[in-house]
Symmetry: C2
Subunit: 518 residues, 2 copies
């Protein structure tokens, strides 16, 4: 059968079918309007659950069997334990022992710790992965070794896909740092404390079967119930669900690189010059070394000018928590805690609020938090001359990162990418990015160590910062400067095989990733 | 057209159709199994909502018009303001002004303050009410004056009906003591503070259009968001949404009646004798004068024996909050706050947790809190010799009360009804109750001022309390005693017209109420 392709609104050729399902091509950031209805999972009846609320079963394998695990099912997990997760591998080990084949793994993200799952991709237990593949699993897919195509979604897009019934989760396995026998669970206490469980919200609401796995059982009621026991079928106790030091690093530090610090300072100066930093403003910065430095610069500016931010969106970390504790930020609306201070603060401070992809990012809702942010600081592996950006592949073509909340955050009022002009002598600004993850019309400013490029659409920002003595250049100038130093890079070489689809926030496909020609 | 009737599992004759919809007859407490799917409301798109999150519109009428109000729609409200609600009447006043007819009002409960709505029932604006009708509206219905039949559901049954798509809410109007322009809302602060908004949860999740109405707007983010702005379409500010002194009385007091105090003491003694009051137990008592006294006796027993309760379910009030503050109760899992102390405690104490009909009562979930309770104290207007009980009609046949959480609480491990043997010289124990709201097999003990009757099914309780020197009698003996004093009461006289259906927790119909022959 010949595969048909169609050109989408950012000019990428997209197959009309992926994994046997029809594809809706990207139609612009707000172009596609759905007329569907939210997914309704099966109605359950209390009579089928224990009256005393004790849903514990012997072990994970028993729970999977009771949940009716069978060939071809979709199994989900969350990534709040990041590279310290001990649960997902056990799920598929149990599945393999049960002799089940062709499963779809639907994680909210995968990490290098999940490299052992390659065995189950190879032996047929897992058919393919729908979710970000950070590191080894992405490389495996890029080598054309996964049977189905990966489907990458943003955090909000994952919620959207589940809510809309685009992905039906047969069994969700939710690792929980604290849980009661009824299945109420949170991430605030216990040896594997990770702060919150927002990435598992859609799974708990919509999956046909929900298994909570914990190494810290507490008597009913486990409060707060970030995951509600009323959505849970089985509870499994095990010795250890995560490796604490890999869940929360406690060591995320501000960058010491002079270049990166300069980019951070320039970003903060730009925001101040543009009038973005004002009393009651809001911001979101990530947990990378540069982003942390920008948050600190924001703090300094607020201190100096005696103003405060109404809210900051996390990933939280010790630096953001300091701003909260000092009253410079009134609320942290947090999607994931990156260190122990973040966990402690969320546990103790009612103004450090746990959020979810539903509240923060879901594009198929009645608004979300992301579009309300005054300024958002994001990264990118590549940016093109139209400000289209890539976050999932490297310039060598390998799929090595997930989308995270990146696409969702593009809806913020001012979207700034502080990025080095080149990495390992490979320029970051390209004629065409390897993979388009976000359309340039939503990306406003690129800040590099050799100058700032403002998207020509944002005449207001160009006008507003023109007297600020900032090194503003065109994106073409920045590109030429990089190429003067590093030369013009060769584009990556691919076969025709589509190994992954990149979904936009509305479920359309904005780009695909192809097998790397090795 | 002749109406067909069918006899249900408690022997009541039920029409096969009510309000033009087919009826499923009651099949026993756990008899009916649904195989359906939860309701999925229409998918919305952020592009249709303001980027800055400000969803405020000029007034309620504008919001209703924008939400597309038209003839025949179902409009919901909640009853957290009890008899102090100022919003529901305005909704239908606005609807009348807009010339809309035949609406279905779907409140979580109605109160005497809603008597003005009789005008709109008479002029055709409202077709009928699905929800409890406390007082005047119930009398209006009992007189055969409402065009459609009322449909009464328990709190859990209301959630079930919405979740299952049995009732589709076109427009939910959620009165909120505090809200931000995005629609995040709670009941904790502001002049109309009522504690929580759990009765509006289903409405916020499933209604096609959600309007939040507030007299206390706060900047985004309003935390905690008991109602999530991501589910809200419009926000309306108005001067006053409730009358504080009727929302929370601040004056709910323990009974001073010697008979009632004796019943309370006897109830507590029975629980102690039966071994129900032990370390880590759980209980739910209401906010009536007798129930409050029972809670106090429980407190005394716990203090004496140096034990504590793991949790109590509210309706909370100053007495229950005292037990929490004194460490005798570890958690209050609260469905509605009955006084200002309840509101304060919920606002300040993380162990005073707001719950919802979803967590506590929904029978079509994966368990709920109600079945986990060691002991539940409930009321009744009548009880029959099989322990079937009535809470909605008086012995004169008038429909004057809602079901509340009563049916849902029947799933507790020990269900005790402390009731006077007669009221206004009318015996409470009958051959047949006027309306069956709960099947006798779920009701364990009747405590009256003249003795205790234990349901013969509960041989464990009979055995366990036999040496406790308690005035245990058969229910027949109690009935005879009442009739010796008051005589045998005349049953109420009805026409054939069905004026209301009483739903069981699973959506089946357990009984109907007929028009009173006046």
């Amino acid at each position: 059968m010949t595969i048909k392709y169609v050109k989408n609104a950012v000019g990428r050729m997209i197959p009309t079918e992926i994994n046997g399902k029809p594809v809706i091509p990207f139609q612009g950031p707000h172009g596609y309007k759905t007329t569907g209805w939210k997914y309704g999972p099966p109605i359950r009846t209390c009579g089928d659950y224990p009256d005393d609320g004790d849903k514990r079963v012997a072990d994970l394998k028993t729970a999977l069997a009771k949940a009716g695990l069978k060939d071809g099912m979709t199994i989900s997990t969350h990534h709040h334990f990041r590279n310290g997760d001990l649960v997902a591998n056990q799920v598929f080990q149990a599945a393999a022992e049960l002799g089940v084949k062709d499963l779809v793994w639907f994680p909210s993200a995968s990490f290098p710790c999940h490299e052992p799952l390659i065995e189950y991709l190879e032996d047929g237990t897992i058919h393919h992965i729908e979710g970000s593949m950070n590191g080894p699993l992405g490389r495996f897919a890029s080598q054309g070794k996964m049977r189905g195509a990966g489907v990458l979604r943003s955090h909000g897009g994952r919620y959207q896909a589940v809510q809309d019934g685009e992905v039906v989760i047969d069994i969700a396995v939710i690792a929980a740092p604290a849980a009661d026998p009824f299945g109420n669970a949170n991430g605030l206490t216990g040896p594997s404390a990770c702060g919150l469980l927002g990435f598992a919200l859609a799974d708990s609401q919509y999956a046909h079967n929900v298994i909570v796995v914990t190494d810290h059982i507490v008597p009913f009621p486990c409060i707060p119930w970030q995951v509600q026991g009323n959505n849970v079928d089985y509870v499994v106790e095990m010795d250890q669900i995560g490796i604490p030091e890999r869940i929360v690093s406690g060591t995320t530090r501000i960058t010491k690189s002079p270049d990166r610090l300069y980019i951070a300072e320039l970003t903060a100066k730009f925001c101040e010059a543009a009038g973005i930093i004002r009393d009651g403003f809001s911001f979101q910065a990530g947990a990378g070394g540069t982003a942390l430095a920008i948050g600190n610069y924001f703090g300094e500016i607020m201190r100096e000018r005696s103003i405060k931010a109404r809210f900051a969106r996390g990933g939280s970390n010790q630096y953001l928590v300091e701003l909260l504790d000092q009253g410079l930020v009134e609320h942290i609306l947090d999607g994931q805690t990156f260190d122990l201070e973040g966990v402690r603060s969320m546990r103790e401070n009612p103004h450090h609020v746990d959020t979810s992809p539903f509240t923060s990012y879901n594009y198929h809702g009645k608004g979300n938090f992301a579009s309300m942010l005054d300024v958002v600081i994001l990264g990118a592996t590549e940016v093109d001359l139209n400000f289209n950006a890539n976050v999932v592949t490297h310039s060598d073509g390998y799929l090595l990162h997930g989308i995270g909340g990146w696409q969702n955050c593009l809806f913020g009022k001012n979207v700034i990418l502080p990025i080095p002009l080149f990495r390992d002598r490979i320029p970051v600004i390209r004629d065409e990015v390897t993979t388009i993850c976000g359309p340039g019309e939503l990306i406003d400013v690129i800040v590099t160590e050799r100058g700032i490029a403002i998207n020509p659409r944002r005449t207001d920002l160009i006008e507003g910062t023109k007297d600020a003595n900032l090194p503003v250049k065109t994106i073409h100038e920045l590109k030429q400067e990089a190429e003067r130093i590093c030369g013009v890079p060769q584009p990556a070489q691919f076969t025709d095989k589509v190994i992954a689809a990149i979904k936009w926030v509305d479920g359309t496909v904005i780009d695909v990733v192809r097998q790397v020609k090795e």
